[in-house]
């Protein structure tokens, strides 16, 4: 049936919150009670839910230090820590910080991110990494084709568009942060560079439900056992950018972000492998690999839509589960599509609900 029209999902019934303020009727206000001017009304922390909301006092115990997502009132006695975002409390020995339920990506040094060139300037590129500010990629922070090591000259600046031009995707590492939080990227290694032979997708920001979680390995390889007798040799590279941008592509021996971890060593820079790092020409991709890439993309979408975290382990398990589901319904045509109901089934199977 080409079109499925669902009934609207009813809004969760609003639990009648036990009204904190001592007003008689629901949400009313009475004039007699004295209005505490100045310090925020100190509310007994009746609920046990560990959800903090903005403006809520976390503690006024001087031993705690203030981390992300919290603030201190400059004027009054400055050891009352209040939460500035809605989220869960995180304590790292004496440091209090609040992890927001949903937030955009905040870059940190060493993050492996996927970015898209938004603007080309004289000596640098402005890269969108899904954060609050555009990241910078200076011309000096990229490998020249063929791995030559030299200072950048005028001609390089003139040929800047042959390296990266608007709209192109690249994988890079955050090298350093400006004080306003903007990231500076670099691609000075064989596992970074321009992305091709694959499909891009973006998952909403990290920090909370359904985002990419910082893990040991952000780039890994899936070998597609192939649902229909494809020779096992085909592999797929999956690159989970920490900023929620994901790249799924055909694995080429010794190239691409995953090559570093599984391919030959890094020693031979001048090898021919690094020469095509700025090419925007795709190689010939067999149909089955395209099919499996679409399946992996479906798995990731299902994980996000059902609020599960996206990391190497979940994606690998999800992909195996999807291949199983495809085997079961061998006859039905669209085994690839993993939205809506099928996505829920996959997610439940993963979480074992």
């Amino acid at each position: 049936m080409p079109i499925t029209i669902l009934q609207p999902s009813l809004a969760p019934p609003a639990k009648l919150r036990d009204a904190d303020s001592d007003s008689d009727s629901e949400g009313g206000a009475d004039l007699e009670g004295d209005i505490a001017m100045g310090r925020p009304a100190k509310r007994a922390r009746t609920q046990d839910s560990s959800i903090m909301t903005p403006g809520e006092i976390i503690t006024d115990d001087p031993q705690w230090m203030r981390g992300h997502g919290t603030y201190v009132i400059p004027g009054a006695s400055s050891n009352t820590i209040l939460s500035s975002v809605a989220g869960t409390l995180a304590k790292t020995n004496k440091l209090l910080s609040v992890r927001p339920l949903r937030a955009r990506y905040t870059p940190e040094i060493g993050d492996l991110v996927v970015g898209r060139i938004v603007e080309v300037q004289a000596k640098r590129w402005r890269v969108d990494v899904g954060g609050t500010l555009l990241a910078q990629l200076p011309l000096s922070a990229i490998n020249l084709p063929g791995g030559i090591q030299r200072r950048r000259t005028e001609t390089d600046e003139l040929q800047i568009r042959t390296f990266f031009s608007e709209g192109e995707l690249l994988v890079a590492e955050v090298q350093q942060l400006y004080n306003d939080g903007a990231a500076v990227l670099h691609t000075r290694s064989l596992k970074y560079g321009k992305l091709r032979n694959g499909v891009f997708m973006s998952v909403t920001g990290t920090g909370g439900g359904g985002g990419v979680v910082r893990a040991r390995r952000q780039a890994f390889t899936l070998d597609i056992s192939g649902t229909d007798e494809v020779s096992g040799s085909e592999k797929i590279d999956v690159l989970l950018g920490v900023n929620g941008y994901i790249w799924i592509s055909k694995h080429i021996e010794g190239e691409g972000a995953a090559a570093e971890t599984s391919g030959p060593g890094i020693t031979r820079i001048e090898e021919s492998v690094g020469l095509n790092v700025y090419s925007s020409q795709n190689d010939i991709i067999p149909v089955d690999t395209m099919r499996e890439i679409a399946r992996v993309r479906g798995v990731v979408t299902a994980l996000v839509e059902n609020g599960l975290r996206v990391d190497e382990e979940m994606v690998t398990k999800g992909y195996a589960e999807a291949v199983e589901m495809a085997k079961e319904e061998r006859d039905s045509a669209d085994t690839l599509w993993l939205g809506g109901e099928r996505g829920k089934r996959l997610a439940n199977a993963l979480v074992g609900r």
Binding site: P2, I3, P8, G146, G167, I284, R291, A333, G339, G340
Partner: protein, 438 residues
């Protein structure tokens, strides 16, 4: 900027991959989200969400694109043109030349006036036989589209508005439902709002929401006699549906009030408002409900507006209508080609020409031109001799914006695929029928 250029940045490598996977013939196109070529994205639909309107509907996709339509109706005095005697005696010719002067004439209506002479509803004059019925005019329906981020006189918004209005007014049936008597008529305001910035081309979503809103629209029942000042029954439960329902179980199955003699309503129970479907072609594959990435590699795209006419209406004009139109009697209302954003996408650079890619070292990229497989040690910095050749021809794996138009046969096939018996249009109409109208 052109109507579809919500500035989507995609890299040439992605575009080449997408085009490659969508134009596969043997197993059929592989779409990025794995859907089959005629499969629509799941959507949630509900009607009657705004109590203050005569009819309202809201549809949103799983990815969050959402549209809300509100329909409000007001009674308006029908302007009587001073040349009325000329219009009636002169018959047709006088009619078209006599200017329609009404007190509050907005500028837009003059072109509507011209369009009317091109349009199709003159024939009802003969059919109804009664002259004053002739004064049915398309200005009784005003449709406005609001897209966040675009100004309302932006060419994209205007293109959408005129397409939706055209689909509604093309067959002239709709305007007759707004007729009250010779002195008054209903003025219907259809306001369409796209809540989120458009993630994919908004046309199909807007037209489905309008379809549902019109189905849910109800007008208060007329109590007054023929040409008196209109008096309405203020019991909302007795209001009549704009599109009379089939014998649905709802208690107030619309009894066609005797005082509203409109040819269409009497003739057939179930005519339905039009829907507009977006169809796209990549290579030889025809794809429905394209997402933003798919539309960015489309060779051609067409918007087809279809409506279900009253099934028992006989079609005198066309000679080849199959007599036993069992299922639905679909009418083709309007077809427009959409300029696909693929023409605005940056071209890829083949390795043989790419200074930074040091020529075609890896044998895995056989380019069509024979001389292009330069020996490995030739320094790639020199521009390749036959760069001009690769510029005109298609190199495998390199994206190039499509040039020229679409083949005549392909456009015809796209329209045919929508209209065919048991095709996509009918299944979408069935799906929409399933939505229970509150």
């Amino acid at each position: 900027m052109s109507s579809t250029s919500q500035h989507l940045l995609l890299s040439p490598a992605e575009l080449a991959y997408l085009h490659g996977s969508l134009s596969l013939i043997t197993p059929g196109p592989i779409r990025p989200d794995g859907r089959s070529p005629t499969q629509f994205r799941p959507l949630t639909a509900e009607t009657g969400i705004l109590p203050g309107t005569n009819g309202s509907a809201r549809i949103c996709f799983a990815d969050g694109t959402e549209a809300v339509v509100g329909v409000k109706a007001e009674v308006e005095k029908t302007p009587v043109p001073p040349y009325e005697f000329v219009a009636s005696t002169e018959g047709r010719k006088g009619h078209s030349s006599a200017p329609k002067k009404s007190s509050r004439k907005s500028k837009k209506t003059t072109t509507e006036d011209e369009e009317i002479s091109m349009d199709v509803d003159e024939d009802d004059e003969e059919a109804a036989g009664v002259n004053e019925k002739a004064r049915v005019s398309p200005d009784w329906v005003e449709l406005s589209v609001e897209i966040p981020g675009l100004r309302d006189d932006d060419s994209g918004t205007v293109f959408l508005t005129s397409m939706l209005t055209e689909a509604l007014l093309a067959d002239g049936e709709f305007v007759k439902k707004l007729w009250i008597n010779r002195r008054f008529h209903w003025k219907l305001y259809l306001d369409i709002i796209l809540i989120s910035p458009p993630l994919s081309y908004p046309l199909p979503l807007l037209s489905l929401t309008t379809h549902l809103a019109l189905l849910a629209t109800r007008l208060p029942r007329l109590k007054s006699e023929a040409d008196e000042d209109p008096m309405f029954d203020d019991d909302w439960a007795a209001a009549t549906f704009l599109y009379p329902r089939q014998d649905t179980t709802s208690a107030k199955a619309s009894n066609k009030s005797p005082k509203q003699p409109s040819a269409a309503a009497a003739a057939a129970p179930a005519s339905r408002p039009p829907i507009t479907l977006l169809v796209m072609a990549v290579g030889d594959n025809i794809i429905f409900d394209p997402s933003k990435e798919e539309l960015a590699v489309a060779d051609s795209a067409v918007a087809v507006s279809v409506a279900e006419g009253p099934s028992s209406e006989t079609e005198p004009e066309s000679e080849s209508i199959p007599a036993t139109s069992t299922k639905r009697n679909l009418h083709l209302l309007s077809v427009r080609t959409i300029d696909p954003p693929s023409r605005l996408t940056p071209p890829g650079v083949p390795n043989s020409v790419n200074a930074a890619a040091w020529g075609t070292m890896t044998a895995a990229t056989p380019t069509t031109t024979t001389a292009a497989t330069a020996p490995a040690n030739e320094s790639g910095a020199a521009k390749h001799p036959d760069a001009r050749v690769t510029e005109t021809e298609d190199v495998v794996g390199v994206w190039k914006a499509p040039r020229g138009g679409a083949k005549f046969g392909m456009l015809g096939a796209m329209v045919a695929k929508v209209l065919e018996r048991g095709g996509v249009a009918e299944e979408v109409l069935d799906g929409l029928e399933g939505v229970d109208l509150t």
